[in-house]
């Protein structure tokens, strides 16, 4: 069983606020999920290379060519707020 403190840590890393009830609910789901991985872990994969990419494509590269960027109206159309061409976001306290 995954610890509640671990659930809190994961929620914090993902910037999600959970109620105590939700934490317990997720504790159940995630524990079940981890148990499934334990089953997978029991398979011997010593001779099998890790599969990171589902399809075999290698090194797709593009020429260094400048293309037209979006209009500023377009860029800011999804911004929660904007001012003088900038995205305006709550200030993060650091630095």
């Amino acid at each position: 069983m995954i610890e509640i403190t671990e659930i809190k840590k994961i929620a914090d890393a993902a910037r999600i606020n959970l109620t105590a009830e939700e934490e317990r609910e997720l504790q159940g789901y995630l524990s079940q999920m981890l148990a499934n991985f334990d089953k997978l872990r029991s398979i011997d994969t010593e001779q099998v290379a890790a599969t990171i990419y589902p399809i075999a494509v290698e090194s797709v590269l593009r020429e260094d060519q400048v293309e037209t960027s979006l209009d500023i109206e377009c860029v800011l159309s999804n911004a929660p707020e904007s001012v003088k061409g900038y995205f305006r976001v709550p200030r993060i306290m650091e630095e």
Binding site: Y53, V57, S59, L61, Q65, L70, V75
Partner: protein
Amino acid sequence: MTKYETIIGLEVHVELATKSKIFCGCTTEFGGDPNTHCCPICLGLPGSLPVVNQQAIEYAIKAGLALNCSIANYSKFDRKNYFYPDLTKAYQISQYDQPLCLAGHMDYELDGQTYSVRINRIHVEEEAGKSVHSGDNILGSEFSQMDYNRAGIPLIEIVTEPDIRMPAQAKAFLEQLKANLEYIKVSDCKMEQGSLRCDANISLRPVGSTEFGTKVEIKNLNSFRAIERALEYEEQRQAEVYDQGGTIYQETRTWDEKLGVTVTMRTKEEADDYRYFPEPDLPPLIVEQSWIDEIKATLPELPLARKNRFIEQYKLSDYEASLLTATQELADFFEAAYQSFPNAKELSNWLTGEFARLLNASNLTIPEIPVQPGDLAELLSIVKDGKISGNQGREVLGMMFDSGKKPAQIIKEQGFEQISDTKELEGVIDQILSTYPDEVKRYQAGEDRLLGFFVGQVMKETKGKANPGLVNQIIRNKLLADQ
């Protein structure tokens, strides 16, 4: 500081000089109105897919080769996850466990000694956006203004091994690194524009100990001088803590330039958990050996090697050779001019003297000036043959910078040709000597310094065109023969 040994390692971020961003076609040009160099890819809009810029990889490989790294034939990109408004996607595409360049080293000199620093790795990643903090304060909450023009500019991060032993070495290493990167033209390395940035790790350990002490990371180092000062401060601070029996905690500190101190930014407990995982939107990066060889063939001789060759081959001093090899353009200019004017010392004096002064004043770079190496060589030959004086030569060089004309033409137009005709000079000298009979007597009585006076008068009479060496000789012969 004899009780402790200082251990320093550096992490250097360098923006690569590509025309377009690393994963999209937006321009990398510095400045521009905020958010005008953005597209769905660098804004991280859903459904957009990054494609790697080949030139960025080429530059990264070139940097790796210049720092004697081995280049990985297989490397991959990873997501570094963190929430911060400078990232549009809430992750940065970087390289985690399989970077492009590994295990290199770079040599540098300090006070006549050569040191080597091992390079742990160089990985490729994307630049983050820039926040401009606004002063406006609405309902008590402050805001940041974000500009993503910079987001997605290709970066390399160069990580050294902890091989540096004092702050001055860190500075010397960085200066050499910058020179190398400028030589191979992978970055403009402008610290003031942020295209070269450095974080430093520093720890102390008792002399003789082989275990590392707890390291502290210093950020916000905006100049080489700041790096040296911050490290000196931190070296002192840690020594004092240890002297008082205290403990150094692993933390990140920021350098306060104004106060000249480092301040705690975050401790290890608050450190981010980046949850790296392979970037599913990008296939692995396969680099063929033939491509690496091709790039290797374009590597120029690096500044330190070139400086040492200049000392050896042209018999120049260490100082002269460093000045001449400070930029590739100047070193190339020197070597090209030397072909037609094989007097290294004289050529060096001109290049690091009047030429450097004119170049500086013109605000141009060597490829932008109209003066060709052959032109300078021609001018110096004319001066050496005594056809014009050194002062006139400097004047001619100035006009070459301004007009792009050849030295011979300028000399003709300006009537600068020196009088080296003995007969003609004797006539003028006889006239001067007869005008100043008293001075002649005093000179002959032993007042040697009057020779300068006579030469001066002859120069005045000939409007500076007389060959001063010849005038000197003729006057001395005449006055001493008269006795």
